[in-house]
Subunit: 321 residues, 6 copies
């Protein structure tokens, strides 16, 4: 159906050509699309390791490894179901959070207004806030499905600055662009600034499944909790690579020892039921800390592919795990 | 018995001297040996990341960490059971697949004809085909025991070229040098080029245990399936490092997120029953993508040690897990 | 209570200032402390990969990621319970094991004599012997709780040299500074020099739980065995990073394929009951082999934090898992 | 004039978007262009270090550092003089030199036939031969201006294979697509296979200026020799990054200690008089050996910019150093 | 005299202890000092490569290589002439240029007000502006002596943002805190955004010696021009590591091919006559791009040592080259 | 004549086989040789960066780039003039300087007694002392020709330990195994511990040409000074890689900014007149700090080749620059 198909790596080697996401066509303004990949190369929101500005292109580079058919969703070829292209990057203004967020919001907005579902590749986690603003303008407050080692709901940083990678999901509640009662955070672990670091999310209305709780529930059980929480609401899906153990995702801003493995992570994502995704991002890939194997970027690309499959599953008849 | 013993790393530090595999003696043409390590430094068959030409020496360098006694096979000291030496590398012709395969076949043939079991260190997976040719000339069509994330049974690449790291096990069936009905492929996972990527192996006659199926069966169950499939036939054992998760083996050509851990992998290998191995290879170690820790090379060396133990187990009385 | 609090990373970014352990104050001689972090930058005892002399500062650099509150010990803030500071490094004499051990023993002794519990950051594993000497002078022979892939109880190296990273826990028994009947070694795995490599520890009186046995027992079961073994005796806790799988700790001297993951490791440490720790070290972090993500150093820092929590748990009323 | 202008890095940060060469527009088939950048990602011709298949995109990534105006050619803005775009990559067939050369020749041919001057980015040096074939079909035998540490005029490799990175400029003479009497090789140095390694080029008709001779002549003197040799003939310009000292270009296939510095190299290139360039390539950038700074890729990009300036100088009125 | 002496690396190995600059004592608020090293870990002003936030500690780590006596200034031991200590880092607010500049200005101000000459270690070049503000408050408009590949006098970036690593020396003129007529910029080279990139500095009143002009003048001649320009005025000295060729300083934000070598750079610095330095910084060291040798950080540390020597030379009787 | 010829890299690719030095045959005890390459993998003498234990094999790995004919010595093929083989490594005892020196002395002695000229590859600079002891036993006190950034004549380190990389050439004078009046040190530069760091060598009787003096003399002039100093005496040649600028040799123990380039260094070595070399070493290559390009190891291999050429020049009729 689509016409928006990846270059076939059985015909032309993966290393040939400019690496768009999965070797998809580049979007032009007149394209009628269902979804678009968009890079959000911001790292001005990073309180610790910087370099996620190079994340989108690093993820694209490794995404050439991926093949179109997803055997974990009934051999779904998402590109036969949906028209998807690579829309390039939003522009940003390094060192200026406000201007950067405005540019990101505008870029996402230009997609959403054309009914193109945005799938962002970060960049640090601050990018989710302007993306949520644009998405909520179209869809109203959304249900957040959030995978992360940290809740990113701190009140502020460094003398009270409001916008950073550690604060977007408090701001989003305050701005009434997520509906916390339909939202869920999964994977929080590690040492805390204050004893109430976890409860601060619960106080905001979020459901929180810590890393330990996730393993107690099992991946299927956790997926069931997500389904129960979000039901049919429009969902914004956000995945921070530090959700995964640093051995599987060394290239992140704030690595946290003791997370799930790559396989456990993919098992969880593949267990998620079809849901009404209206926006998504996969963030905090930092190639400067990833080593020559670039396994974090590969994992990020794989997660994006799973997210695209989840989106397609929510749009079609024959999908589902 | 043997006289072919590794240098003792309690006497001389591991970093002293040219690193042969496990610090074994180098083979000379007149040596009477049971098995030989042979490097197969070809990466002309690699459709994606190249550099496996540096794999054999990288594996040798990390193999100095290994000690001779294997506690997972009844404290077997394989070097007291078998005469093993390091036969150096086959020569290759970069950029010329046919000439390269001829040189590899000749090198393996010169061992096999002297009743020396070849244990190849790759090099990309294309090296298995010439090795199989030489082995099958001596032993007839062999049972293949194949660990990999990918089945490597595609028909051709890039306009129909027949020989590459993605095609050897289709060619081997076509050439009647493996017996697919006695052969088994384990660990396939990840996204697919076409919906029939997995069934193409089954269509050729192979038994396929996907990564998910392997975890469902458990490692002992999987090992039992291998034993049931190959029975007493002569076995060619081939292990592609990308069988393992990229976190445990980042230094490979085509990493595939979501594989077994190093421990799960070794548990499986150690669970294998003694079998009649007549040839083996451990391939696709690429040190250029492995990081300073060189953990892929270490794992490859450890797998070779397990293969040697499996061979010795198949030759002796007291062995077995 | 304490006044010895880490810099708050919500106020000042983690990368600002000289990185002491967890951004703690630096100890001065007149400080009244409960415990002190002390770097032991020796790698003269390393038979294989060298570079652990850069370990203490590498661990400090990554320790800035840690936050003070430990949710796995009842939201314990160890720094509110104990006065802890960073005492800098012991001096060493590269290439001279005896002089190096004397300097380390003196540095630890100066802490122990002031009733300050030493928490060493290595450095190769040879540093444990001089630390044990100083601790035992104050407390008598101690119970050793030892996490490692190797038992480090070989008689000698390279023509009989007595002191190296492979021998401290034989020497400690010979010198009567550990009580092997109250001591336990956990995690031994991999190939062996001689069939009696494991039994040599048992012959010395240690209890040994191999890696396989640990998984059979489970982490809670293993923790119970530790508690049963050490009871109320004064404990010296020593953790070699190669206990963990190389995928999770590539930056070590002698990586051994097939160990527990980071999560399994932390689960075990967090399951340990409060015990009477009188000294501790976390050793063999080698940043030269760790890659840009420095995940080994991060894990080492996290282990130190868990050790501090275990110490605090042993000192207080409300602690424990 | 042109409409083919780089993205302005004062407006949008350099790291935003897919990195085409110097952030130029991508060429489409209908574009009327003066010149095109084309990646030639072949490393099947590499006798030693492989990985140059990743060279074109590595050079593009660093080329974002470049700004359009060249102060060393009279503040020439090449993009105001010529219409230039990035034509992507030729396809290749790894492991098959003949098929690879055919694909490269076809890709260059499709440009040349449309009067678009091809500026190739390698890839190993074997790519020059098919490029020369396509260029000579249009322009007849060309004058070669060749910067390199090695003459690349060996008869054959590895049992007589004719095509590799070490042979193109002998083949080109044999095929009568370069005119050696109008051609010049500059920079040869280092140890030799045979005493006649240098004279073999002279025997073919080339003028050879060794590295030592170049320093004796000085950069202006060397440039004068080039001008005198090529006069008004159509020129194919080829630059191998190993011309430069390994300290300035570590990321190459066959580094040769003792070459000119980056500054000396650029001084020479900037001293070249305007000439009638009809084709060019800059080859042997291998990012796998380049380190995190990617200084070889940056230098390669800078050399390409100088080549574009030289081309523009040859086409315009006001140019020249 | 001073009491502020580096730890002696003949007594205690360089790798022992927290690495302050040159192993100097840490400054406390009550110390009476002549000068202080202060880290300025800001990279929010970086339009391209980020990571200079890790620069100050990287420079400190390599500064342990330095020894106190400078044979190029008459065997001057600067620490016997001046009381110098390491004052730690200014705090910053990542992503917020204005807040960051305020914090840096306050930190420098607290030194300057106590008559302590600030020697900043960057951080990106935006840090010079707040430092100049604090220095000029005490000393009035200063003469700028500026070594750099770029003039950093652009009007604004990315939609007109005023503060970044590319703008401080235009802002400083606008704010009347440097006196351009007494100021000099040295080393500008490489491609330009606009033909007037260089003249924009001249239009502001600066003297500009391009890289080519510097080589024409020679290092002694260039030093003479500096002396002639600044005469006895209070001088702010600023050195951007990208002044040097990328082969000698790969770890920078915006590397520019074709600069002077390390030796040429040090020759120039050592040729500078004693001048009345009242503030200094050495900026743009980015360890993330520097490779394992950390040669950029070593060079930065060496430059700081030369700056300290120049300061001491300006304060004492017996100094001078 | 010789029969000891390198493998021809035009026949078999450089990456095939165990990398002996320049792909030479391995020495066996009964070989009659003129010279032998011997690895001296000691880094116990390193006061700062450790890892030179991996130096000999790193230099061997890069030495495969070298070809046998030296055009800078009249197209000399040293292997046709002299019988040379690779004798493997001396054993060492990490952490025990005395035992290590004994093992090295014995290894060199076993060569020297068989009239085989030893060419050592380090290893840190402490290895020169035991080598000199063995050489002087045969030849009496030798003339030292010493290239280095540091004189390595300090009295002792770290509380007076006598043996380290910083002391061998004081010890050698004290032990009367070098004749300082015939000896010369070249290249000293950088900051000093004490004002008399340089004069300490002169006080011992050495001639010292500092780095600055070397550039004033020019390379030919410096070579002439060497010839004048050593005349016909038996010479021990020692080359520390930190003689060269860190940009050209980042992989060393104690890098010193501001040295000669690779080209300047090779120019000097190639200018040396034939002399009566009786022993040699090339030391301090540390691959852990060398980056993926391994340019330090390549340079070290190139220097060894030049040393072999110098030796051959001293033995033959037709040699000389």
């Amino acid at each position: 159906m689509s016409g928006f198909l990846p270059v076939d790596s059985l015909d032309s080697p993966r290393f040939c050509g400019l690496p768009t996401f999965m070797r998809l066509p580049q979007a032009s303004v007149e394209d009628v699309l269902d979804a678009a990949i968009i890079g959000l190369p911001c790292d001005s929101g990073a309180p610790y390791r910087t370099g996620a500005r190079f994340g989108p292109n690093a993820v694209r580079s490794m995404s050439v490894m991926l093949r179109p058919v997803n055997p974990y969703r009934g051999n779904l070829n998402v590109f036969e179901r949906l028209r998807i292209a690579d829309a390039g990057d939003a522009s940003v203004v390094p060192g200026y959070m406000q201007a950067t967020m405005d540019r990101i919001e505008a870029a996402i907005d230009s997609l959403v207004r054309r009914d193109i579902l945005p799938v962002g590749i970060g960049g640090d986690h601050s990018v989710s806030l302007p993306a949520l603003r644009a998405v909520a303008r179209q869809h109203g407050p959304v249900a957040l499905v959030h995978f992360d080692a940290h809740s990113d709901t701190w009140p502020g940083y460094f003398g009270g600055e409001l916008y950073s990678a550690g604060t977007p999901f408090r701001r989003a509640v305050e701005e009434d662009i997520v509906e916390p009662e339909a939202s869920i955070q999964i994977g929080m672990r590690g040492s805390l600034f204050r004893p109430d670091d976890v409860s601060q999310s619960i106080d905001l209305g979020y459901e929180v499944i810590t890393g330990d709780a996730m393993f107690d529930l099992g991946m299927a059980g956790t997926a069931a909790r997500v389904a129960k929480r979000v039901r049919a609401r429009p969902v914004y899906f956000t995945f921070d690579l530090d959700f995964v153990d640093p051995s599987c995702a060394p290239g992140v801003q704030t690595p946290e020892a003791g997370g799930p493995s790559t396989r456990e992570t993919l098992t969880l994502l593949r267990a998620l039921s079809a849901m009404n995704v209206v926006g998504a991002d996969v963030v905090e890939t930092n190639p400067l800390f990833d080593g020559p194997g670039q396994i974090t970027a590969l994992l990020a690309a794989t997660v994006v592919h799973e997210v695209l499959s989840l989106i397609a599953a929510g749009r079609g008849a024959s999908s589902g795990p």
